[in-house]
């Protein structure tokens, strides 16, 4: 049963140093508020999984939260490289990061296998690619009926999955819509689940066959309005593409990055504090 609590408490209760954590959201509904809270609470030695480790993981990695990364595409969408991710892989700053690289189809299937209680997933993939040479977690099996050779990848089963969604009701049932990504699978694959939501309502007013996670599959639901900023929440606010563009210059330099994290994340109390500080410095009317 979902506890409806503050994000600070949810992270403190459910995420420990050394945990295997997935923060998912496929350019939509990225749980930035939860990412900041992990940085603020100085979580260390996390293994982070995410199909698309964009700015949220650049921040976590640059802030020294992670020892390992499982991913399939690491970039700043529409802008370029993730400088903190590259610096960690290429130069071990601020600490070495071991990276295990897959393809999108692989990780999507690996979350499905995790959600489905299977130890592995089967997919048509990787024949002729070099990825299996550098990733021992990619293997091949034979179809027992046709003798076809297919790829097999281990299920992803995070200790904690964190996602952001549009709405929850007071029982902690969560509704999301629009670009769904792998959030439902990542949540169902995890041992513990934290969901931040734009708002908590009396009634979800969900349409038939909507994408819902029932409250009894979730450990903590936290109301964090704007919690996906600078990504977007369909029906609530648009993506702040300027933030993504500006991130390139911030993340390119270690000191500029560290100052940014200090000022906007570590020196603020919570995500609302971050937004106030950010809006002040960037001339946005409150």
């Amino acid at each position: 049963m979902a506890d409806i609590i503050e994000l600070r408490e949810a992270i403190a209760t459910h995420v420990s140093d050394g945990d295997f954590v997935a923060l998912e959201g496929f350019t939509h509904l990225i749980p930035f508020a939860a990412g900041h809270e992990l940085i603020r609470q100085r979580r260390r030695r996390l293994t982070l999984a995410r199909m698309t480790p964009d700015l949220i993981y650049d921040q976590l990695i640059g802030a020294g939260c992670a020892d390992a990364l499982i991913y399939s595409w690491g970039g700043n969408p529409g802008v370029g490289s993730l400088h903190r991710l590259r610096d960690a892989i290429e130069h071990g700053w601020p600490r070495p990061l071991s990276a295990r690289e897959h393809s999108h189809a692989d990780l999507a299937n690996a979350y499905v296998a995790g959600a489905a209680g299977l130890p592995f997933a089967v997919l048509r993939a990787y024949a002729g690619s070099d990825l299996p040479k550098v990733n021992p977690q990619i293997r091949f099996i034979e179809c027992p009926f046709t003798a076809e050779r297919l790829a097999a990848v281990p299920a992803l089963r995070p200790d904690v999955t964190v996602i952001h969604a549009q709405k929850a009701d007071r029982k902690g049932n969560v509704l999301l819509w629009g670009i769904l990504g792998v959030q439902k699978e990542a949540a169902l694959a995890a041992r513990r689940v934290i969901v931040t939501v734009e708002e908590i309502v009396d009634d979800l007013d969900a349409w038939p066959n909507a994408c819902i996670l029932p409250g009894w599959t979730i450990d903590a639901v936290c109301a964090v309005s704007g919690g996906a900023f600078p990504s977007y929440a369909h029906g609530y606010y648009a993506r702040d593409s300027r933030f993504y563009t500006a991130w390139d210059a911030i993340a390119r330099d270690r000191e500029t990055f560290s100052d940014w994290i200090e000022r906007y994340v570590l020196a603020t109390d919570d995500f609302a504090g971050f937004r106030r500080k950010f809006d002040e410095t960037h001339g946005v009317a409150a």
């Binding site: 496929f26 350019t27 939509h28 991913y71 399939s72 595409w73 690491g74 970039g75 969408p77 529409g78 490289s81 590259r86 892989i89 290429e90 990276a99 690289e101 897959h102 393809s103 999108h104 189809a105 999507a108 299937n109 997919l123 048509r124 993939a125 990787y126 024949a127 002729g128 690619s129 070099d130 990825l131 550098v134 629009g178 670009i179 769904l180 990504g181 792998v182 439902k184 699978e185 994408c211 977007y232 369909h234 648009a238 993506r239 702040d240 593409s241 300027r242 933030f243 993504y244 563009t245 500006a246 991130w247 210059a249 911030i250 500029t256 100052d259 940014w260 000022r263 950010f278 960037h282």
Partner: protein
């Protein structure tokens, strides 16, 4: 008929767009592929079905998406499914006619590297990685590659094979039992290449207007083959150019040109 003046990127996008048949189901990568696929949809291929890996199927974005999961893609789609379903039922299920890919490196058999420059363990540059490309390259009925040409990107030997084009050439794809036919064209800012019918080695079939063989040779990390009947890529029509420019102007306006979230 043709626009009098156009950039190399414009003719690349137009030449790529022309390769997308109407009614084709097209799996679209972000960036140049997305611009080309949407230009096709807005010109000769109004019934092309565009699929993005984030979940939208049959999407008709009014502006080019900045990210693979922009809200615009969801709002204008016939339907939006979860990402696992996109890869399982739609791509692997064999429903994609054309995969539209970019790349960082490409070799003479149109194999693609988007993983690493230099050694994998001690990389010179870590690139974004595989994303959806390996399975798009494997499963789409055919693949179109759109990439700016230079000796750094068109290399004798890839540092890493992320996505298989024609492997080692010849019937290598069939031997790997890859479902799709692989790359049928590589469209660059200089020329259009197609794999040779037998060896599957990329062969320049047309040069863009004003481009010389020598320019292509200088921008290719191996001695490129040229087709016996080497042609000139038809220049963009004014409709193509106008449509592309309007699309890009709309997109720039929508996304905002200037950075805001700068360092304090």
């Amino acid at each position: 008929m043709s626009g009098s003046d156009f950039s190399t990127e414009e003719i690349m996008t137009v030449a790529a767009a022309r390769r997308l048949p109407d009614r084709a189901v097209c799996f679209v990568g972000i960036g140049l592929p997305s611009a080309a696929a949407n230009l096709a949809r807005l010109t000769h291929a109004p019934n092309a079905v565009l699929i993005y890996e984030s979940g939208p199927i049959g999407t008709r974005p009014r502006v080019l998406p900045l990210s693979i999961g922009d809200g615009e893609l969801a709002e204008t789609a016939d339907m939006v499914v979860a990402t696992p379903e996109i890869f399982r039922y739609w791509l692997q299920g064999g429903r994609v006619d054309v995969g539209f890919l970019g790349t960082a490196q490409i070799d003479r058999f149109a194999n693609l590297n988007t993983t690493v420059i230099g050694d994998y363990v001690a990389p010179k540059v870590r690139l974004p990685g595989a994303g959806g490309a390996p399975e798009i390259a494997a499963c789409a009925r055919e693949v179109l590659v759109i990439v700016k040409q230079s000796a750094r990107s068109f290399v004798e030997k890839l540092d890493f094979v992320t996505s298989v084009g024609h492997g080692e050439g010849g019937d290598h794809r069939q031997r790997l039992r890859l479902p799709g036919r692989g790359p049928t064209a590589v469209i660059t800012d200089l020329c259009v290449m197609e794999p040779d019918a037998h060896s599957r080695e990329l062969t320049v079939v047309s040069l863009h207007p004003g481009v010389s063989r020598e320019q292509v040779e200088c921008a290719t990390g191996w001695p490129p083959r040229f087709a016996a009947d080497l042609g000139i890529t038809p220049a963009p029509s004014s409709r193509e150019l106008d449509t592309l420019r309007a699309l890009q102007a709309r997109s720039a306006a929508a996304h905002g040109a200037q950075p805001q979230a700068g360092a304090a």
